[in-house]
Assembly symmetry: C2
Homo-oligomer: 237 residues x 2
């Protein structure tokens, strides 16, 4: 799943292949349109199939599940991020590399997606995912799979063994956790819907990452006595 999708982007040769691509894009666009207008749960697979004048069975030949179709564009974005991360120069600090990769991915996103669906529709879809439990679940799982991939990339960059050195996993988990949090907050009603707003929010949150863990409220442990409140055996105390 999610491997040989190449949703648009490439322009396949044969008439057959083009037709296939077109059907796929049509299904995705129709699904997104229906999902965002009348809701995910309220939309049946039959409706989507009917909108493209295709049988339900055919829908399931293109998408493994009803959920799957909602992530067509999300996959593109994730793919972009991973690709951009791979392109970051070797000497760059890993955390910074991730930040830059996100920024670049977003910058490129517009043109990447435009062929499949208008950006505005994609943004609506993003919000819908965040606010639909069933979709959010799937999105989080997909995210955790992507995390694994990122861990691999980071570990390779730094020439570290994932099993013996926890840092790649930990760093990626922290950064991804924060990015996801940014996405969720952005998706809440009342927030600006634009891509820029999401990008800005993510930047703000990532800026706050290190200070949040090492900053004042960590250093402020028992400021008067200088004695730590807690015992030293942090573990299972």
């Amino acid at each position: 799943m999610s491997v040989g999708q190449d949703t648009a982007a490439e322009r396949p040769a044969g008439l057959r292949a083009r037709k296939k691509q077109r059907t796929r894009d049509d299904l995705m666009r129709a699904a997104l349109e229906l999902f965002t207008t009348q809701g995910y749960e309220a939309t049946t697979v039959d409706e989507i199939a009917d909108a493209v004048e295709v049988s339900q069975r055919t829908f399931f030949r293109y998408f493994a599940s009803k959920e799957d179709v909602a992530f067509g564009v999300a996959s593109l974005m994730e793919g972009q991020f991973v690709e951009q991360l791979r392109l970051r120069p070797a000497g760059e600090d890993p955390i910074l590399a991730m930040r830059r990769a996100v920024a670049c991915a977003w910058e490129l996103m517009g043109e990447t997606i435009e062929e499949v669906a208008p950006v505005e529709l994609v943004m609506r879809a993003y919000r819908m995912i965040e606010s639909t439990p069933a979709l959010l679940s799937a999105a989080l799982r997909r995210g955790s799979e992507t995390e694994d991939e990122i861990v691999g990339i980071i570990a390779a960059r730094e020439h570290l063994d994932v099993e013996s050195d926890p840092r790649p996993r930990v760093a990626v988990a922290a950064v991804c956790g924060v990015m996801r949090m940014a996405g969720r907050v952005w998706g809440q009603p009342g927030h600006e819907t634009s891509v820029e707003a999401l990008a800005a929010l993510t930047e703000t949150y990532l800026d706050a990452l290190t200070p949040s863990l090492t900053g004042p409220w960590l250093g402020a442990r028992e400021p008067r006595t200088g004695r730590r409140v807690c015992r030293d055996d942090v573990p299972v105390g």
Copy 2:
């Protein structure tokens, strides 16, 4: 959902209430047993219901979904964590408070759960969740809901406004991300199954959190020239 469950623990008065509680526990135990022996997908709701000699309809009166029943014990653990976090002294550093809360929750877990199901079964269930896509999805979403709650607690502790100060959200996201990563790694085949192993792994990962973001591989930016590789306009450059 997940509010008025009080799975065991309290011993309700009436015969009626006790019967209800018993049915619920039975369903959960039976489900866990079936899930862990023959797999989640391969187990039908009918089987679970039959095992307790109850109709399928009744099963759905106790659990909102097939997924739901798998998280009965997980809910207990999460509840423990939140409760312990609330009990942490006010002056304690928030990140440390979270660590301590996790440790305490695990220590108490044994006795908390024992009434519902043997610890060993619970651990098998935990692993099953991590390795079953559909369940992992749900687990992650539940986790993200718990994150919200934790953010609220932390913000209250530190007298911070969640909307204006990103630190509570960011810190929680980072810590939770790392804890989740620990859980996933622990769930991978080949790892020790014991609670202690999970606790130890989590500790290791949390220990690595700050160093991973601020440590050598972050400080090692262009050591020779002292010049930073990246431009200063981190954002959307």
